[in-house]
């Protein structure tokens, strides 16, 4: 199973080498107090976190509670303007060191003022340190992997099951377009005629 997963990861890595050239037409946003004021080059240090927030608690409150990108969502008309003025703290898919279950596996979430603020899981967040991906912050999964990678492995195996079944169908139905026996018979014929 792991071999299939590694194979898929290999294919993915190869395919990601072919990236689209930089013809992006986007400009950068600047929004009031929490504006990043930084460009895409600032990957490790995050987007001016110490300049924008007084403490890690303020940063977490901005990202995860009422001010965050998840408040209201896209279809809630009252809040979609806010949805578009949210500025992230790290470049996707990176998060601050100590985020969620990084460094503390058994942390718990608490509910304060009707909205989740994840107080226990985010106590050890380090400002200006976006060195881990979100996947690395999801805690332990199985086989020594993190939870996100384990989830991906499970669903990769699930999606490969119909692939195997289809392959078996092809074997059962003996497709006429199977090129290998045709090619071998053609080679035989050619060698016979040449001799």
């Amino acid at each position: 199973m792991i071999n299939i997963y590694q194979f898929i990861l290999g294919v993915t890595a190869l395919s990601s080498c072919t990236s689209i050239p930089s013809w992006q037409w986007r400009r950068q946003l600047v929004h009031g107090k929490y504006s990043t004021g930084m460009d895409n080059e600032h990957l490790v240090g995050g987007f001016n976190q110490t300049g924008r927030f007084n403490s890690s608690a303020e940063l977490i409150h901005y990202v995860c509670s009422n001010n965050g990108a998840f408040y209201g969502g896209l279809l809630a008309k009252a809040s979609w303007e806010h949805y578009y003025t949210y500025d992230p703290v790290c470049r996707f898919p990176y998060v601050n060191k100590g985020w969620y279950k990084d460094g503390d596996q058994n942390c718990d979430t608490t509910v304060i003022e009707g909205s989740k603020i994840y107080s226990q899981c985010f106590e050890d967040v380090v400002m200006d340190d976006c060195t881990i991906t979100f996947a690395q912050s999801t805690g332990d999964g199985f086989w020594g992997m993190n939870m996100y990678d384990s989830k991906c492995l499970v669903w990769t195996c699930f999606t490969m099951l119909p692939f195997m079944i289809s392959l078996y169908y092809l074997k059962v139905s003996e497709p006429p377009w199977c090129l290998v026996p045709r090619a071998s018979s053609l080679l035989k014929k050619l060698t016979q005629t040449s001799s």
Partner: protein
């Protein structure tokens, strides 16, 4: 034709497996701007392609005459729709994350759509992609409906030749595919137009995550549905029916033999006791 559809399902599964290797792109193995949107667009069009192949096959059966030759217009339409679907949807999927046309209807904040710190899909480009898909859904949905009703007319009139059980089965499938395509059309129009039109769809890093696969589950269901629909026949039965009945028969035989053994052993033990 059946092998072609099985192959399409294999391609669908392969693309889904690649997407599943980094479902939300949170590990950095895939990225929304290139690989993820490319493979997602391919995976999205594979079941549609299976539907196109099915409808073309039904057209061939109904209009193909004795030789069962696909009409030229159906062949051209199939080739055009397939090429158009794959090329345009994959291009627009990738373009949606790389260009900016929408303004999110926020007058006081000019050019609010642009964002380059985390992936965001342009609302207008996404809508165009859905409209392209819609045009294919509508075309083949209508064709499936028309050919379904043609078979119904043949069955009702009953002049000349009688409809075979194969035709009755095709009629049922025609209506099913027509309904599916129309449902997909309305879903796509809903996604392309109303609230989502002219709105950038953003994917920021979440605060926490769960084991829930999200959109992967419906994809997985479609894969298995296609697998079930395309199963080959074995000894005049569907493959799954054959497997289940043979497994049941095997279970019965093992059950009988075990009960015989137990009877024998009870007799022998009874004999021992008697002796």
């Amino acid at each position: 034709m059946n092998e072609k559809m099985v192959f399409m399902n294999m391609m669908f599964s392969f693309c889904s497996a690649i997407i599943a290797s980094d479902i939300e792109c949170l590990a950095g193995r895939l990225d929304f701007e290139t690989t993820r949107s490319f493979f997602f667009a391919l995976a999205q069009f594979c079941p549609v392609h299976v539907g196109i192949l099915l409808v073309t096959a039904w057209i061939t059966i109904v209009d193909g005459g004795k030789k069962k030759k696909t009409p030229v217009w159906a062949r051209y339409m199939e080739n055009f729709s397939t090429a158009y679907g794959y090329c345009v949807t994959t291009f627009l999927s990738c373009a949606g994350y790389n260009i900016c046309l929408t303004d999110n209807n926020i007058p006081e904040d000019d050019g609010v759509c642009e964002y380059n710190h985390y992936p965001s899909e342009d609302g207008k480009v996404s809508a165009y992609k859905r409209i392209v898909l819609c045009s294919i859904y509508v075309t083949y949905g209508v064709l499936a409906g028309v050919y379904g009703s043609k078979i119904t007319m043949q069955l009702k009139s009953g002049k000349g030749k009688k409809a075979s059980p194969e035709e009755k089965k095709i009629r049922r499938w025609c209506y099913l595919v027509c309904t599916l395509y129309m449902g997909m059309t309305f879903t796509s129009i809903g996604g392309a137009m109303y609230e989502r039109y002219n709105r950038t769809i953003k994917m920021p890093v979440p605060c926490e995550t769960s084991w829930s696969p999200g959109f992967m589950f419906p994809m997985y269901m479609v894969q298995f549905a296609i697998c079930y629909a395309q199963q080959p026949m074995k000894k005049g039965k569907k493959f799954t029916t054959h497997v289940v009945s043979s497994a049941f028969a095997k279970f019965k035989s093992t059950n009988r033999s075990s009960s015989r053994r137990s009877k024998k052993s009870s007799k022998s033990t009874g004999g021992e006791r008697a002796s």
